[in-house]
């Protein structure tokens, strides 16, 4: 391509000029970056076009802007790699626009302080006149996240920052996470307290926009996830200790000489109110326990299976002589066991088939297909279901039609001349 059209969002709030997209047709050189193109436009067309850069070699992050809807560094984005004849350039989001592509970075830097993104020496970690020892284990987990140069791309990309202007944002939380991972740090609990709020790490909904755009290829979502896990462990631990009334673990060791350097106090709005937080924590713990208990009870009942038949009462159908041998006889009996229901909903129609003087089979009249009532047809010697033509033999086995299973049989026995059927 020989030319590219830049569409730059220009505005000047202090001069009262509203935002508008201005186009510049820029000749393309090989390996030209977006920063080169903006500079060409400023030098040759609009001398008052405002933009930022410093090192122009991808080291400082000053030129962070939104290119074709996506955050990036202007000096690191090659025009030809965009594969677009029109390149739309907008200033970083979520920050006040000073002019054109220049935004006020102050609120972004303020989040770094707000998240306590600074090291606080632990008095005991420094031996007299010596250095605090760095642990390799800490270094391995900190190194992937420490390269942040505060360019603001992630803060701009994060939609939660847009919806919650007080949200600390991915950069600040990522920096705080590197300090929480550092065993030399002496302000762990104070820092976690600040992060444990709705404007802290809980505002993150893992949309990964920050990770997607970070020019240093960091993963703030992972850092924030790490912080969430630390907070859960800490808060659940505190709750458990409160329940068993165990003592708190030893607080930070007495301050050494480093304590003379007082870090600025975190903004009071960030620290959740103690009483309200306790109510919330106990409430949530209570609800979770109730849910867990009901799920466990249901699972246990499922695993145990339906209640055993052993204890259920036997119902008498009267003297067994009443029922003819070898021919099914109808009877109506309450075998449902639900004494609280109306009689019409409890009674069941059954067929009694006597095979010998002392043995009887009591079959349910409910067809195993879709529950219609079967009747005995003496002419063909089968139970017949009128709904879909299913037939069953004298023992209840399926002989024709759609029923998938034999007729259900009640447990029955003959005792002292009476026919007894067990409640189901």
């Amino acid at each position: 391509m020989t030319k590219v059209t830049l569409k730059i969002r220009r505005s000047s709030p202090s001069e009262g000029r509203a935002a508008e997209y201005v186009e510049y047709v820029v000749p393309v050189q090989p390996k030209m970056t977006v920063l080169d193109a903006i500079a060409w436009a400023q030098r040759n067309v609009s001398h008052n076009l405002a933009y930022r850069y410093a090192c122009r070699v991808g080291m400082c992050g000053t030129c962070a802007v939104v290119i074709n809807g996506r955050e990036g560094w202007a000096c690191r984005t090659l025009v030809e790699r965009l594969h677009a004849p029109v390149v739309t350039i907008e200033p970083l989001r979520n920050l006040p626009v000073i002019k054109d592509l220049v935004v006020d970075m102050q609120p972004f830097f303020a989040t770094m302080m707000g998240a306590m993104g600074y090291f606080v020496a632990d008095g005991a970690g420094c031996s007299t006149g010596g250095e605090p020892v760095i642990r390799m284990r800490d270094r391995t987990s900190i190194d992937p996240h420490i390269q942040c140069i505060s360019c603001g791309a992630c803060y701009s990309a994060c939609t939660m920052v847009h919806w919650d202007p007080q949200y600390l944002g991915p950069a600040a939380l990522n920096r705080a996470a590197t300090l929480v991972m550092d065993s030399r740090d002496g302000a762990r609990h104070a820092r976690l307290d600040v992060l444990d709020s709705e404007h802290g790490c809980w505002r993150c909904h893992t949309q990964f926009s920050c990770t997607e755009v970070c020019p240093m290829q960091l993963n703030p979502t992972e850092s924030i996830g790490y912080l969430k896990r630390q907070l859960v462990v800490r808060n659940v631990g505190a709750l458990a200790r409160a329940i068993v009334r165990a003592p708190e673990p030893e607080a930070a060791l007495p301050a050494g000489p480093a304590a003379a350097l007082e870090p600025p106090a975190p903004p009071p709005a960030m620290v959740a109110d103690g009483g309200r937080r306790r109510v919330l924590e106990y409430g949530i713990a209570g609800v979770l326990s109730a849910i867990a208990t009901s799920v466990a009870a249901t699972a246990a009942a499922f695993l145990r299976g339906p209640s055993t038949a052993a204890g259920r009462p036997w119902i008498s159908l009267g003297p067994v002589e009443r029922f003819p041998l070898h021919a099914p006889a109808e009877a109506i009996v309450d075998v449902s066991g639900h004494a609280d229901r109306e009689a019409s909903r409890r009674l069941r129609r059954v067929y009694v088939v006597r095979s010998t003087a002392t043995e009887a089979l009591v079959l349910s009249s409910e067809c195993s297909h879709l529950g219609c009532g079967v009747h005995w047809d003496a002419g063909i010697g089968q139970f017949v279901c009128p709904c879909h033509g299913g037939t069953f033999d004298l023992q209840g086995r399926v002989t024709a039609g759609p029923p998938p299973r034999p007729l259900a049989a009640y447990r029955a026995r003959v005792e002292r001349g009476a026919l007894l059927v067990q409640e189901t």
């Binding site: 969002r9 505005s11 709030p13 202090s14 001069e15 009262g16 935002a19 939104v66 074709n68 809807g69 996506r70 739309t88 907008e90 200033p91 970083l92 989001r93 979520n94 920050l95 006040p96 626009v97 006020d104 992937p144 939609t159 847009h162 909904h205 893992t206 949309q207 990964f208 926009s209 990770t211 997607e212 993963n219 979502t221 992972e222 996830g225 790490y226 969430k228 896990r229």
Partner: protein
């Protein structure tokens, strides 16, 4: 200094194609899961009212599968399984979800 309100660029311009072209997979996953959650409410009501309408049941299965598989992805992310692999996880759960959906469709239709 001018005392005007600070002007910010914030909301994505949803009418612009570049906004959607720049939407990352993580954001699509988030959006899809929330939309599935919204869809579940009327679909569950539909499920109770018309248990015999196969299409309604299939739509419910679709919403449940998407919401559930993406929920599993969120679970894995919260447990820290996302160093470089959140897009891989998204691909895996989407694939499993489609398989489950296919089997459900076979069973229903």
């Amino acid at each position: 200094m001018a005392m005007s309100l600070p002007e910010q660029v914030g909301k994505r311009e949803l009418t612009q194609l570049r906004t959607w072209k720049a939407t990352s997979p993580g954001m699509w996953a988030w959006l899809t899961q929330r939309l599935a959650a919204l869809a579940l409410v009327p679909l569950i009501l539909l499920h109770i009212t018309y248990p015999y309408k196969v299409l309604a049941q299939f739509l419910l299965v679709m919403a449940v599968v998407f919401h559930g598989m993406l929920g599993i992805r969120v679970l894995l992310i919260d447990l820290g399984v996302n160093v470089r692999s959140e897009k891989v996880i998204l691909g895996i759960v989407s694939f499993i979800g489609l398989i489950v959906l296919f089997l459900a469709g076979q069973h229903l239709f």
